[in-house]
Symmetry: C2
Subunit: 254 residues, 2 copies
DNA sequence: CCAAAAGTGTTATGTCTACACCCATGA
DNA sequence: TCATGGGTGTAGACATAACACTTTTGG
């Protein structure tokens, strides 16, 4: 520890004119739920390296913008979504050689989107697609750079945040049924909830969901039409649903 | 969204020879518990900008090392601690102008240390000190750069991780009493636990703490000598203590 | 009418909290 | 022997999981 050359106590006694230069990029893992599964927006690379492989969308940070602004800009460029959507930084990646061309440190964000329509609006439709997260993570789809690790970290973080924050409502629209809300938790956590108990957890305490008085159309197979709700203010402080509940365990199991 | 100039579908259709250059640093928020309070290791700056103000220790990332390695190196340089200590990345900070001299993106880590002795071994003793986190966050101590925000984020993350991970044992030594372990949760969360119930939560299920058969010396004021425990394997999978328990609520309160 | 999905009621079981009480030690 | 902190027991309050049952729709 005495090998240090800088002045003691100075966090970085550096000379502004001589320092290792890095490119800084921002990658955005764009997640949504479709067909009851968690999906991620990926783009197909058109140039080497990793040509024709799938990658997480991203781009350079500009010197005059913050990291959050860069992420917001990238999200808008890929999806056309500019506003409300939840955008959270979850990691930085800077292994030497992660980009074969130069030293790149990337700061990774995830975004949660409610709807699928027009997601690829900003991009060539053939080059961008929603891919089930499970396919992208079990090797069926090979990702460029260290993007498999980034995606894994993103999904893990979303699983944790779903328990800790009100992120769940970012997956659904402004009006939603409790079944849709339940599907969010079930898809992200890969568990099954008892619909009755789920409803009670969300309804019992005030401030989570507010009935609108309107009802959703039942599916083509029938069923009682579900009440439509909107999100209450409590989602700013957490989630009424806890992760720990069992998957499909029934009373008789041991 | 059609203002984009790059090829559609290419995450970053960049020319390796022209990109905005940044300095990348790694800052390490070093935390420990002392005197029943959560404390942070800060260094006093000896040069402008922010001369004589307190700052979080850190330094440049080198091109040939990973971010994690850079953080480990910085931790060792500041404390002499090289191994086991918990080191977790929790954020990246890149606001323009956060360093008045140049474009710097910093990746922030926190480290949890068990002991205070010799913490400032690697630095000039006069320039490094343990400061109570509450003093550093309520404005009593003014921090350089955006380090107040970084420290706030670190502490918030530690509070969350204490609930989700086995981080608590990183604050105590290899042998510890349950009172010491309880003090960790109480200092970080600023709550009070019922010692009896705390013990039960930790003891009841196997794998959290393992009795060593030895006992700690009682304090100078007397008291039954406490059993010394060591950490079990379950800490790798979480914590037996949940955050939600009330602070000092008694039966009669409403 | 039947299947399907929403929504309600009920109960056994488990967990948490508060607090009474006993134990071992230093002064 | 008293104060202090470790450690055990326990009853009531509360939360949860499981599942039977009713309601409302499409076919």
């Amino acid at each position: 520890m005495t090998t240090k050359t800088k002045d003691p106590g100075v966090p970085a006694g550096y000379d502004p004119s001589q320092f290792p230069a890095f490119a800084v990029t921002v990658d955005v893992v764009i997640l949504t739920i479709s067909g009851g599964r968690l999906q991620v927006l990926l783009v197909r690379r058109g140039v080497p390296p990793f040509e024709a492989m799938w990658a997480i969308p991203g781009g350079f940070k500009r010197p005059a913008e913050t990291l959050d602004e860069a992420a917001k800009r990238e999200l808008a460029e890929e999806t056309g979504v500019s506003g409300a959507s939840l955008l959270t930084q979850f990691g930085a990646y800077g292994d030497p050689g992660r980009d074969p061309r130069m030293n790149v440190v990337t700061v990774a964000y995830f975004a949660v989107l409610r709807e699928v329509g027009g997601i690829a609006a900003g991009t060539d439709a053939a080059a961008a697609a929603l891919i089930p997260v499970s396919d992208a993570l079990n090797g069926k789809i090979e990702l460029a750079f260290d993007h498999a690790k980034i995606l894994r970290d993103a999904v893990e973080r979303v699983r944790v945040d779903l328990d800790l924050t009100g992120m769940a409502i970012a997956f659904v629209g402004s009006k939603f049924t409790l079944a849709e809300l339940r599907a969010v938790y079930e898809a992200v956590w890969k568990v099954g909830f008892d619909a009755a108990n789920f409803r009670r957890s969300v309804i019992t305490e005030q401030g989570w969901v507010i009935p609108t008085g309107r009802r959703a159309q039942p599916g083509s197979t029938g069923g009682k039409p579900a009440e439509l709700y909107r999100a209450g203010r409590m989602w700013r402080y957490g989630s009424p649903i806890r992760r720990s509940q069992p998957n499909g365990r029934r009373k008789g199991d041991s």
